[in-house]
Symmetry: C2
Subunit: 351 residues, 2 copies
Amino acid sequence: MNDSAVGTSSKEASKQALPRLADVAAHAGVSSKTVSRVVNNEANVRPQVRAQVLRSVAALGYRPNAAARALVTQRTHQIGLVATASSLYGPTAGLFSLEQAAWKAGYGLTLTTVREASEAQLEEAIHYLMVRGVEGVIVSGVAGILHLETSALAEMPLVSTSPITTESVKHVLVDSDQVAGTRAAVRHLYDSGHRRIAHLAGPLSWDSAARRRDGWLLELEDLGLHPGPLLVGDWSPKSGYEAALTLDPTTATAIVVANDHMAMGAIRAFTEQGLHIPDDMSVAGFDDVPEAAYQMVPLTTVRQNFSSVAERSVRELIHLIEGRAAEKTSIHLPTELIVRASTAPCLGNPR
Amino acid sequence: MNDSAVGTSSKEASKQALPRLADVAAHAGVSSKTVSRVVNNEANVRPQVRAQVLRSVAALGYRPNAAARALVTQRTHQIGLVATASSLYGPTAGLFSLEQAAWKAGYGLTLTTVREASEAQLEEAIHYLMVRGVEGVIVSGVAGILHLETSALAEMPLVSTSPITTESVKHVLVDSDQVAGTRAAVRHLYDSGHRRIAHLAGPLSWDSAARRRDGWLLELEDLGLHPGPLLVGDWSPKSGYEAALTLDPTTATAIVVANDHMAMGAIRAFTEQGLHIPDDMSVAGFDDVPEAAYQMVPLTTVRQNFSSVAERSVRELIHLIEGRAAEKTSIHLPTELIVRASTAPCLGNPR
DNA sequence: TCGCTTACTGACAGCGCTGTCAACCACGTG
DNA sequence: CACGTGGTTGACAGCGCTGTCAGTAAGCGA
């Protein structure tokens, strides 16, 4: 076996010049097509030939060229992710699960971000990914109800967390069941005797914020209760703190907060005002961030299973990419109420 | 202007068949090379020809094929990111800044994760990215001191947060100055009268955990103090809680914790044991997560500027990709001590 | 007027790979 | 012994784009 064999046939010396299929073929004494067969694990190659090719591949350190392969097969095995550029826990938590799920399915993940969730930015992001050759797109943690109608997008498989209106049939929504989540929180507070239940919502331009508020509203209605005060924050602990400061404590005995970080800010604000949590005010969060259980007052919250959402998103997207029609266009995964110490039975008399 | 013009010259009907350069060329009545010039914004094209081509590009909705372009230019303008698959705040926080910085520089970001930070997994991840055609790799939030010696990797530009030993000169380390961070926290406690200062470290297989511990040790040494107890957690609030439970409160009046989430768990544990924060025990964290300021006891902490680290990482990587030699092989960005309410002057008599 | 420079344009090859198809070989089988 | 038959292999074209280089037209000074 010759020892210096990498590179193009004739001349070539210093440049690294990655080995190509032809180099492996020459080294193994077969045609490049046969090497291609081995590399792609196709049938109908004699075992000993396959072994020899494999040896040459290892000897030369051959790695297939993705661009060349993509060019001829018209497949890139890349999926694109559009995320909002924020380090909010929610959008972030599913990210690595997304990558792992894609990886298991043989797809790579190209990431891009939008600063705000406008139609224009989203379309730009998707175009950016299309130029990059992705075969499908996941839109995660983007705010509102977006309408996309560029015809080029209509053929692009799309899975999103927010309802996006498209002309495409290749579009599925996968998310936690936000409505059921806040409904469960409200019901829990009701069962503990609370009758005046406030809500601290996320920015209502976000669909998930609006849906959590809807759950609060719907459950109150079913229970025959008038809604308590509605406050609005921006998901940040700071906004939770500031919003809670504006709440008149006589108007509510409990509050359902749209995420854990705002709930932490709110608890801080209530405490500063001399309210005791949970005796004077019950507080429920949403997300179950890792530190929720280890707060000074461990937080009652609605746990989202971000990795399930991520895995399901990838699964549905790959179905779309492979041409299988979606069974449902909208999938809501269950949430779980985790009762800890920030909620307690209502001490006052239920009105 | 004709209205139905997309597709290959002769036959073709139903299939979408994205327009190619040649289609645009035919539509505009020029050669495909001229279209290429316009699309790539090269000089020496008559303004009116350029305008006509641009009109045809828009009319057909042409988008260049990245694979074909990459094949001929040998450039993919993709960079790869290797991250550990955890939703730790630190590794996650810089992610979007990384993407934005790459985007501004004209590069795409391909993400991959490793479950644990072994040499084998890292090499596999980098190979995965190489097959995907990335021109450089950023390794973020990966634990220990890794040694890579595969010759193929030696040519791959690499920026990492942890010290990775390679034979490559194309390798730069960019990170927050961890040592200075904990030194500042220790110094702050010393200045408040504390003389017995404990440390709750992250998993010491992580280089950043080890360096934070070193900062604690070094500053104590400079101050002529004996180190207080050393506890070890795994970055999670839970581990902080459990570790703090094992601390004998008579052996320390203050503790420097290696991240905010463990600090939260520790505060919870101290409180359960009847210790008052900060009067009975001062606690300092690390990271400045958004909710740190809004805890029941707002957390004194060391703020890392994750977006600076991310931007600098991308900048250095692109320098390496473009062949400029690195000026420094190791860059430490400053941290900032944020004093809040979880640390206070020592009440007991300084030994 | 010629020669020379400059601005612009297009023909053509080929990046590294895979799909198609024909060729080949070793087996039975009629 | 001629003839399939199925397993195995390689020649060749071409995916969509860009680099090279030659060619054409226009401008300009002598």
